[in-house]
């Protein structure tokens, strides 16, 4: 490398002549434009922008110029080198794009090929809809209570004001647990989730706001609409100043969240030993919203053109039940409801036959995925 000096060499200085610089620049730009591959461009880079390239060499001679000429020559050479460098960068990008496009085309696959190598599973829709139903109430501040499936008769019947010889007690088609030597055991498979009402009142501090999703049992043969094993969601509130209006409000919230905004509900008087007054709850048909009633041209299969769908029973907790659970009836009152989970699933997701819910056919379960 030559150091700047003050001597003057006309031959060397020729390389910095403006015409010469322009020529070298043009030569380089032409070579860049001609480069047809990244490999060629690499050679062009070495030849025209490398340490031994003409312009690099010319650059070294600037110091040999008289001081007055140096700035001028420096600008000229520097400008040319910058231009060449940018042209190289642009050409490099262009050639890389072309290469990538070619390679990526070569690497293309059939993305429609299925890859079901790892089979997926699913949760049972009764589980997920039961969770969904419970969560609506959890959102209102309720907690989830639980109880045993083999239950003492006292919890299942007596404490719920099912008197020993009342027809209501025999109407429930109970599975009885055999006692020793064929005697009575005082135990049943719970016929409803309602015994957990009593347990909740005994176990918890008042006020109580709970829902109880769970399995229940009655001696019904399996058919399209019955199953000896089924699921209920029980609700119980015991607090001061509790009325039927709050019950209706809670059910209204549930129906709208589960089935759709603006759906109406209605209560019809009914009878359950553990509630008084008692009611059946209907909701407006979420499919036809009543439009099918008296309209044979547009029948509704969901509600059988009744306009209403029965979803469960409810009522004010019979004070006799509160007494059996040790609750002060002067101060507290309550209400309870029971909703059928199978029934809710049938309506909410169009399940037609109870068999589908009990047989465990993976096609049925898989259709519902992981969440409801």
């Amino acid at each position: 490398m030559s150091a700047p000096n003050n001597s003057y060499d006309p031959v060397e200085v020729n390389a910095l002549h403006p015409d010469e610089v322009a020529r070298m620049r043009q030569e380089a730009l032409d070579a860049i434009a001609r480069a047809s591959s990244l490999e060629e461009l690499k050679e062009v880079r070495i030849a025209h922008a490398g340490d031994r390239s003409p312009l690099a060499l010319a650059n070294r001679e600037i110091g040999a110029l008289p001081p007055a000429a140096r700035a001028d020559a420096g600008r000229r050479v520097g400008g040319a080198r910058r231009e060449i460098s940018e042209a190289l960068k642009a050409r490099q990008a262009q050639l890389e794009d072309e290469r990538d496009a070619r390679v990526l085309v070569e690497e293309a696959v059939d993305v429609t090929l299925p890859y079901d190598r790892i089979p997926h599973g699913s949760r049972h829709p009764l589980t997920t809809i039961g969770e969904r139903m419970a969560d609506i109430f959890v959102g209102m501040g309720f907690e989830i209570a639980e109880g045993p499936e083999v239950e003492a008769e006292w919890y299942n019947f007596d404490a719920l004001n099912f008197l020993p010889d009342h027809p209501a007690r025999t109407m429930q088609d109970t599975f009885f647990v055999a006692g020793p030597n064929g005697g009575e055991s005082g135990m049943v498979l719970r016929t409803h989730t309602s015994p957990v009402q009593v347990r909740a009142m005994l176990d918890r501090e008042l006020p109580v706001y709970v829902v109880v999703p769970g399995r229940t049992f009655r001696t019904d043969e399996l058919d399209a609409t019955h199953s000896p094993v089924f699921h209920q969601l029980e609700g119980l509130v015991v607090d001061e100043g509790i009325t039927l209006a709050h019950l209706r409000g809670a059910i209204q919230v549930f129906v709208e969240q589960m089935f759709g905004e603006g759906l109406r509900t209605r209560m019809r008087p009914s009878y359950f030993p553990f509630t008084e007054p008692s009611a059946e709850v209907d909701m407006e048909c979420f499919v036809c919203r009543g439009a099918s009633v008296g309209n044979p041209d547009a029948p509704c299969r969901t509600c059988s053109s009744e306009g209403w769908i029965e979803i469960g029973g409810c009522g004010v907790v019979n004070p006799r039940v509160l007494v059996a659970a040790g609750v002060d009836t002067e101060r507290y009152s309550g209400w309870a409801f029971g909703l059928g989970i199978e029934r809710t699933l049938m309506f909410a997701r169009g399940v037609k036959d109870m068999h589908d819910m009990v047989e465990g056919d993976v096609r049925f379960t898989a259709a519902f995925g992981m969440e409801m």
Binding site: Y115, D116, R117, I118, P119, H120, G121, S122, R123, H124, L126, M140, G141, E143, P148, V150, A152, W154, P164, D165, P167, M171, F175, F176, A178, G182, G183, E184, S185, M187, L202, R215, T219, V229, V237, T243, L244, A245, H246, L247, G249, A250, Q252, M267, R268, P269, S270, Y271, E276, P277, A279, V316, R320, V323, A324, G326, E359, G360, V362, T365
Partner: protein
Amino acid sequence: MRVPVSWLREYVALPAEATARELAEKLISLGLEVETVEEVGADVTGPIVVGRVLTIEELTGFKKPIRFCTVDVGDANGTGEPQGIVCGARNFAEGDLVVVSLPGAVLPGGFAISARKTYGRISAGMICSASELGLWEDHEGIIVLPEGFAEPGADAGELLGLRDSVLDIAVTPDRGYALSMRGVAREAAAAYGVEFTDPADLPVPETTGGGYPATVADPAICSRYVLRGVTGFDPAAPTPPWMRRRLHLCGVRSISLAVDVTNYVMLELGQPLHAWDRATLRGPIEVRLARQGEKLETLDHVVRALDPDDILITDESGPINLAGVMGGLSTEISDTSTDILVEAAHFAETHIARTSRRHQLSSESSRRFERGVDSAVQLAAATRAVGLLAELGGATVEDGITHIDLSVPREPITVAVGHTGRVAGVDYPVETEIARLRQVGCEVVRNGDTLSVTPPSWRPDLTDPNDLAEEVIRNEGYENIPAIPPRAPAGRGLTHGQRLRRAVGRTLAARGFHEVLNYPFVGERDLDALQLEADDRRRTTVRLANPLNDDEPLLRTTLLPGLLKTLVRNVGRGFGDVALFEMGLVYHPRPGAPAKAPILAVDRGPTAEERAALEAALPEQPRHVGAVLAGQRLRSGWWGGGQDATWADAIQTAREAASVAGVELVVRAAQHAPWHPGRCAALYLAGAEDEAAVGYAGELHPRVVKAYGLPPRTAALEIDWGRIEAAARPATAPRVSTYPVATQDVALVVDESVPAAEVEAALREGAGELLESIRLFDVYTGAQIGEGRKSLAYALRLRADDRTLTAEETNRIRDAAVAAAAERTGAVLRG
């Protein structure tokens, strides 16, 4: 209760334009569950008229006797001329009044009547039987109407009530009064706000006495007992068409006039009646409880051994009736009975309910008694019945009346003014409360802030203030109760256990398992098929007294039978690669449990001891997680081969399930039914390996595979989720070091019998706390390492949280790990 609307209209001034459907809606909103509204006879049209048979000509030469009749049908045929009709029935004579369907009529089932040639004559119509008209069931021939029924040509369909609406009401157990026309009529009158005429409001004699001798042993079994008699009854008198029609519409079969009258009055007033052939009775009647060893043959020809709790009607011959449930055979009304004694009684509900259940004998009578009949209607009912026997059967009513009244007046219910409003959340004026209670028949006296309410004799269900509230609210309309969302205090959300259960379900589903919910019913056969030993705990089961299926009387102690059967079902339906899981309870009788769960008092809350006694009787009901899998675990496809489900999948699935709860399982080889003895893992809670296993996993025993018809090598796991849940501890944050990792691979050769878990445990311990993780990445057996040996290759990841480990340190740790493995398992470093 089937309610013909035409009958109802006799007692309720329903608006003429009120439709049956509208009536049903109103009754539903009052709490009577109308299940169906049946429009009977709606498909019957055209001229169906009364005719008088003028002539009968017997046609001969046919396979069966045939008559050609001329019938006067008045002007109904347009000509006034007699109508010629061919008829195959023989139960009528010239001069009889009959029912004629003229050409143009359409009978039930779309059967169109037209004039046609038959048996060589033109038959212009049909002389009808009751069955052909859908009036009632009758196979005795055509209807012969009573003389004076109507003039020929009159509209018979109208007169016989061919078209009617029938409401079918499912009566809830509290509303016994609605098992009568009287009771439903009262509700209908309230629904429309119109006049109600009480059919029980009929003249009864002021004074009673001089009737058939009778006594009641105990007022607790019968509070009122009425007997009335008739003599000179014509046993051949037919039941008139109107009564047969009504009985038929109510679903009651016509038997004989005497029996039909008792049924009719029961439907009308709700009071079950019994009628005896007076000639068969022997001496005074006594109402009493049965004595040990007594027997009675009831009307259904069953000889019943009586229970000392059964109420009986007896005479000197012994039991003659199972009171309120069914009569005895020996005193039954027959087709020669002329003197009839009618009984109307009020028996104790609970006795009748128990008797009905004990003898598995449910009758129209017992259904009403066990729900509670009007305690004051007996005299009216008996009077109504003997009146009908006299009117329709030519009998003479006896003057003497037996009336034993042991009833005690009802205590009034005291209820605070405004109680209804506090129940409903609606402010009802006190005047409304009083008016509605009076409307349902209560006597109401106001004393300042309280009401003193005496319910009517037909409402035994009204006992508590809330019962009265319901009466007010339902009559005011449930639809008028506003919907106000409750304001619960802040809830705590789901418990940790509840969240874990959801999480493990999602995890198993994400691992390819489908959730199933099997019935918990199993049989000995299922347990045998699992190859359980005789003393296996899972053979100690809870048994049902009344299983649906006699082959499955037990409650499951393991989830596997249900899972395996469901797996077989799926395989049978073409899904050979299947993985299922279930989370549910199993049931183990509690050792040392009392024989019977006590029935506690209900007039107060139970004590802690009483509750504990109940819990002690209940079986243990732990929640298990079970899973089964067969076929391909990873599918084969264009990408290459698949991988079959194996014992290893089952064990790993159990570990992953437990890890959802942050619980580590320790795996040990075990021999445990129903698993393959060489491919079964017992699973223990880490740190509690000396306690019982929390579950088992592996491949099923080939005999189990065969017994259940499973695919070969089906694998299964079952864990006690309750113990996993209980072992769950909140995780503590690990220190995440950002220093570089140092890796060391070691291959160790051990005897084939050495469990990999032991080698790993030794390596872990030898490596110490700088070991971040260890992973077995290869298992090799083969000639290179010798017979009966296996090589286990482990990748050790070492890392410190305060420095970069040096090569010397990592080598030293590796050597220590290998030394520990060598010492504890005889492992040698593979050369």
